[in-house]
Symmetry: C2
Subunit: 345 residues, 2 copies
DNA sequence: GCTTAGCACTCTATAGTTAAGAGTGCTAGA
DNA sequence: TCTAGCACTCTTAACTATAGAGTGCTAAGC
């Protein structure tokens, strides 16, 4: 049976093997597996099945005569088809909820989400900050600075504030700026920043003629303010937890991982990918495509505010992680974060 | 000579030993030292001197019959009395200067200072953000939010913006807020935030009677805005460089160090200490008083804007660092950073 | 045809041994 | 006061032996 499909029995054995390996971290041999699997099969029989699993690339032996260890493909099959989800107890959920209710400031809520994830799992927790496009403008204000520079203040989502400094073509007076702000506030409050930007673009292209000079400059300024780079970002907590895992004892590997955390770029790409994928995502080992994460798995879930996906959160840990516990935890945390952020609106 | 003072010769040998150890990282034996020291002394003689140095607690042997390694006290004596400073070449300074001129935004200048320090030294660079007290108010603005909350926008140092949300006793109208802002801008622009706060406090205590209601609420609001916690902070770069040093190969030690970096508190205390000390500071090994830094040395220098010390920057690396190069580098970088920030005014 | 007992084989991990090398401290003589 | 000589200590690396875990294969049993 060096073929394609797996017998029921082989699947069950793979499941038990992966679970055992996740628990102990040591390669699993046929004797151990025969005891664990409760199938009343001798080690010899188990060995035959294991040979099949190895041929299919689902498990592998670090060396002749060590037990077997799951490969990435093995984990993948396990996660997709065999995993028993270990739902959180009511009480655990309540504890989590309480943590989220402690803070009101969205920035702090996000920070506490990432540290919760890291503390509960003893791995690294990460939360991508809400994307600007789906963030609602509440108020805009312009302040003149020296020269042609104008400070733009955006109040979004009731509590968050963003600043940018833009260079305008000419100097504006205070009252011009106030009028421009009033105009935008009147017309665009409540829309998302992306909507505002698109809308502004359309208006500027459309009726050029019948626009008075002031309104035009208001639009120009706003356009500039809203087209600033999306500076995506994330918060991470508990990176140092990862130093405790044997998988990370190689200093060079560890260094690469932490450099990836500091540069942010790769992690951000990964999170962004999860964002567009909608729904939970699990990247096992090299599936992520980033060398620094080769020894890691990443479990992510998007979180929503008012039914809009605005960000992603997740956990980063060794491939040998307790998927059955991490997955429901990430799921719940994403919901709670969304709910907590929603209250702010 | 198990006494107190060191002969010229012993000092010279200590110097050569420390230099050699810094270069190679391997314990230095009497034979090596006799060759390096160019004193035309036999290893046996050197051994006698080394025994004295050991008795004085300046060097120590990891075990019988390894060479000697400097102790913290040895490094201290070396740094204080024996160190040959290796000044930067003109050209190096120019290169540095050029790096500082690339950016205009103070936040970016600070970030580039820390990454410069880390890149040049291959250690970790750290820059404490300028303290608020010595930061000059340029403009204040109040924006009403929902309820009794008011968004306070402080423009300081021409380009930097700080936001805080304060809870006022009652709701204010837009025009009340504008007037309050005008009042403060008129009276306090150009002063440091600390000066403003103190001044506000005095005024509120003094002539309570002849103050009209508006001015009073302006003061109250401003008072609230200015008394927000000083959220000291720092930027760090190149932490992962530290993973390359043999001194950090102990995972538990490394973990503690990175946890200290993440928690920030201890590092901040240390930087703060350097801030008040004025002038360069060097903490060798456990001198810092923080266990996580036991295997590290920290070299710091305050930087000034308009002759006012506003922050500290420095380098964190293994005790076995090239002090003769790091010290002038930290010194110059502090000056350049101060100069670059000064231009913004 | 599937299962299993038996067995030879492989590989790791551990401990013990040995030898080389580096460096020391001490002593005695210059 | 300096130095040569020497016995001694300790680390490191290489090698050996051994126990243990686990495998793959074969042949017998159900």
């Amino acid at each position: 049976m060096a073929g394609q499909e797996l017998t029921e029995r082989a699947q069950h054995l793979l499941k038990v093997l992966v679970e055992r390996y996740i628990r102990d971290g040591a390669p699993v041999g046929s004797r151990t597996l025969s005891r664990d699997a409760k199938l009343d099969l001798s080690p010899a029989t188990i060995r035959n099945v294991m040979a099949d699993l190895e041929e299919l690339g689902l498990i592998q032996a670090p060396h002749t005569s060590a037990g077997r260890v799951p490969t990435v493909r093995g984990y993948r099959l396990f996660v997709d088809n065999l995993l028993t989800i270990n739902p959180l107890a009511e009480q655990e959920i309540d504890t989590l909820k309480a943590q989220f209710l402690r803070d009101a400031d969205p920035q702090r809520i996000i920070a506490s989400a990432s540290s919760l994830l890291s503390e509960i799992t003893s791995m690294a927790g990460v939360v991508m900050l809400p994307r600007r496009e789906v963030v609602a403008l509440r108020q805009i204000e312009f302040l003149p600075l020296s020269g042609n520079r104008v400070l733009v203040i955006l109040v979004v989502n009731e509590r968050e504030v963003q600043n940018r400094i833009i260079d305008t073509g000419r100097a504006y007076t205070s009252s011009e700026l106030t009028q421009a702000a009033n105009f935008i506030n009147e017309h665009f409050a409540g829309r998302t920043l992306r909507q505002v930007r698109d809308s502004l673009l359309r208006q500027m292209q459309a009726d050029r003629e019948d626009m008075d000079r002031l309104m035009r400059s208001a639009l120009e300024m706003a356009q500039k303010a809203f087209s600033a780079d999306d500076e995506d970002d994330y918060l991470m907590a508990g990176e140092t937890n990862l130093m405790g895992y044997a998988e990370m004892s190689d200093m060079e590997r560890l260094r690469q991982l932490f450099e990836a955390f500091a540069k942010k770029q790769d992690i951000l790409h990964l999170l962004d990918h999860s964002l567009s994928a909608k729904g939970m995502q699990i990247f096992i080992g090299n599936e992520s495509g980033y060398e620094a994460l080769d020894a890691c798995s990443v479990v992510t879930s998007p979180y929503t505010v008012q039914d809009q996906v605005v960000g992603v959160l997740g956990v980063i840990g060794p491939t040998r992680m307790a998927y059955g516990r991490v997955i429901p935890l990430v799921d719940i945390t994403a919901r709670l974060l969304g709910a907590a952020l929603n209250q702010e609106k």
